[in-house]
């Protein structure tokens, strides 16, 4: 090989060499499993004898006619519809408060962020006992004088899901507040001061100046929170195992039990793919809606 050739080959080979780890990862750990799962959706696979039997659309039919699938989807929808708006509003308020100049600001920022930092499993374990009969949160609630489930919040059908949702909001606030705090740094201070001098109150200043700058961050925060909430699993697994009486069985937990408790890999794969399609549709619709509201200024 002469020197001209070597020079060219080294500069041309590099992008391929550089991207090789991704090509391998993509093929082995994404494309192959995704294809495999799709194939499983049309098969009955025996995990012990490792034998396949093609069954056509039987798995998909089984999923769609299973009322457990739909109620799990309902629980997931309730979870998402409850936690995403609550987290967004509360963390935005916290970010606006933390954006003011005051003593202890950096301590507050770190303190509110701490729950996010902690492993979900740890938080869930601690909350099992806070929510339990005799736990601090349970005793605190007793002061309100409302009728409480005697077994503790997580063992009652009517309060279990809401309890997990409240914990999720509590954990997430610090993280999204930090995101919003970052977004707020993009707001030009001259504009704020100018508006202040012209007598705009804080409400007017927020909508006229802060909000347009904050919107990209808001879009990002809502989308990732939505995706995360639709996949809720760990909290459910640790805290309630989907119970009591299936009242906290979310979609992913439903897939999990089908695969690893009933070993019905075909059903689990079909259900996972159907959820994938549903979530993709929700994401697209949501993105369209949020993008639509944006058109006015751009």
């Amino acid at each position: 090989m002469d020197s001209m050739d070597r020079k060219r080959s080294s500069s041309e080979a590099s992008p391929w060499l550089m991207t090789m780890p991704w090509v391998v990862t993509l093929l082995v750990f994404w494309a192959y499993p995704l294809g495999y799962a799709l194939a499983l959706g049309f098969a009955k696979y025996d995990i012990f004898s490792r034998t396949w039997q093609w069954v056509g659309f039987a798995n998909f039919r089984a999923v769609l006619t299973n009322s457990d699938f739909w109620s799990a989807l309902g629980h997931t929808a309730v979870f998402t519809a409850g936690t995403v708006p609550a987290t967004t509003v509360l963390s935005l308020l916290l970010a606006l408060a933390l954006n003011r100049r005051m003593w202890g600001r950096s301590v507050f920022r770190a303190g509110y962020f701490a729950p996010t930092l902690t492993a979900t499993v740890v938080t869930a374990l601690v909350f099992i006992h806070l929510y339990g009969q005799g736990g601090y949160l349970f005793r605190l609630a007793q002061f309100t004088g409302l009728p409480l489930p005697s077994q503790g919040f997580l063992l009652s059908e009517s309060t279990a899901l809401v309890s997990v949702m409240l914990m999720d909001v509590w954990v997430s606030i610090g993280y999204y507040a930090l995101l919003f705090l970052a977004g707020l740094q993009a707001v030009p201070q001259e504009l704020v001061e100018d508006a202040q001098m012209h007598g705009a109150n804080s409400w007017q200043r927020f909508w006229a100046i802060t909000w347009p700058y904050l919107r990209p961050t808001m879009l990002y925060a809502i989308v990732i929170n939505l995706i995360k909430s639709l996949q809720i699993f760990t909290e459910i697994f640790v805290m309630t195992q989907g119970g009591p009486v299936g009242s906290t069985t979310t979609s992913v937990y439903h897939v999990y039990t089908a695969a690893f408790e009933r070993f019905d890999l075909g059903y689990a794969s079909a259900a996972a793919y159907l959820l994938f399609v549903i979530i993709a549709l929700v994401s697209v619709i949501q993105f369209r809606l949020l993008q639509f509201g944006r058109g006015a200024e751009e």
């Binding site: 590099s14 408060a97 492993a119 909350f127 925060a221 979609s251």
Partner: protein, 269 residues
């Protein structure tokens, strides 16, 4: 930052923060309490019992679970930086066949929910003979689509003149990537490192499904630990505290980078 407010806001925030931190304070205090009465104890009434921590290591191989977690988190974090950087760089700088497809694939798989992969990954890891090894929870996440997208964005905003100057001085492509461009992109890599470390240290679903007793990580061990009938709360909370300490340590040491990291990601996103 807007005008300084009165003392009311800081006081409210302080109370709120104590409320946020209460479960963790409770966890740490509970972990050293010798006795427990239906989740209600008086931390001032009894002397602390550090023996709970020693009991843990005697009862279960918690040392191994901690080491597993640390090794996996460290390798995955460093691997993501070392491997995603050239990938993102190549996508930003070279015009080659398949570039768009590769970039598109990273953006696309980022949207694939984890649970679609749970069943086939379980089968695949068994086929590879990796079940209950650290390979199973390290290799598949060594290159993350998020890392590729972040690096590609960062490299695109680095002026190409810097590289041309280095090339004139005779630097080869790999030297340019790792020695010239990578240091410039350090803020983005801090974001990536923090995000990946945090996600890996706290990961539950895949480690839970792909490991057994041997390669188990801390979060999975904790969830399993709960199932042991004889485990009482002080010991459970001691284990939970152990799982939390490394993340808190990382946070205290790298607080500035972490906040800058999340901040940078958000403004770009």
């Amino acid at each position: 930052m807007s005008k300084p407010g009165g003392p009311l806001l800081p006081i409210l925030l302080l109370l709120g923060m104590l409320g946020m931190l209460f479960p963790f304070i409770w966890m740490v205090v509970g972990s050293v309490s010798p006795r427990w009465n239906a989740g209600w104890f008086n931390p001032f009434g009894e002397s602390a019992s550090w023996g709970n921590y020693a009991d843990l290591f005697a009862a279960m191989p918690f040392g191994r679970f901690l080491v597993n977690s640390a090794v996996v988190a460290a390798v995955v974090t460093l691997g993501n930086i070392a491997l995603c950087f050239p990938i993102g760089y190549a996508l930003a700088r070279y015009r080659f066949k398949g570039r768009r497809a590769l970039y598109g694939s990273a953006a696309l798989v980022l949207m694939v929910p984890q649970y679609v992969l749970v069943v086939p990954m379980f089968v695949l890891i068994h086929q590879l003979g990796w079940y209950d090894t650290l390979w199973a929870i390290t290799i598949p996440v060594l290159v993350s689509p998020l890392g590729i997208l972040l690096v590609k964005g960062a490299v695109s905003s680095v002026p190409i003149e810097i590289e041309e100057a280095a090339r004139m001085d005779g630097a080869g492509p790999w030297r340019i990537v790792y020695r010239i461009v990578l240091p410039i992109c350090r803020p983005t890599l801090a974001v990536l490192a923090v995000q990946v470390f945090w996600l890996t240290w706290n990961a539950f679903l895949f480690p839970f499904i792909l490991t057994g007793e041997n390669a188990r990580t801390m979060p999975v061990a904790l969830a399993m630990f709960r199932g042991y009938q004889q485990v009482d709360l002080p010991h459970l909370f001691a284990a939970a505290t152990l799982a939390t300490l490394p993340v808190v340590a990382v946070f205290v040491i790298f607080q500035r980078q972490i906040i800058a990291g999340i901040t940078a990601g958000a403004v770009k996103g």
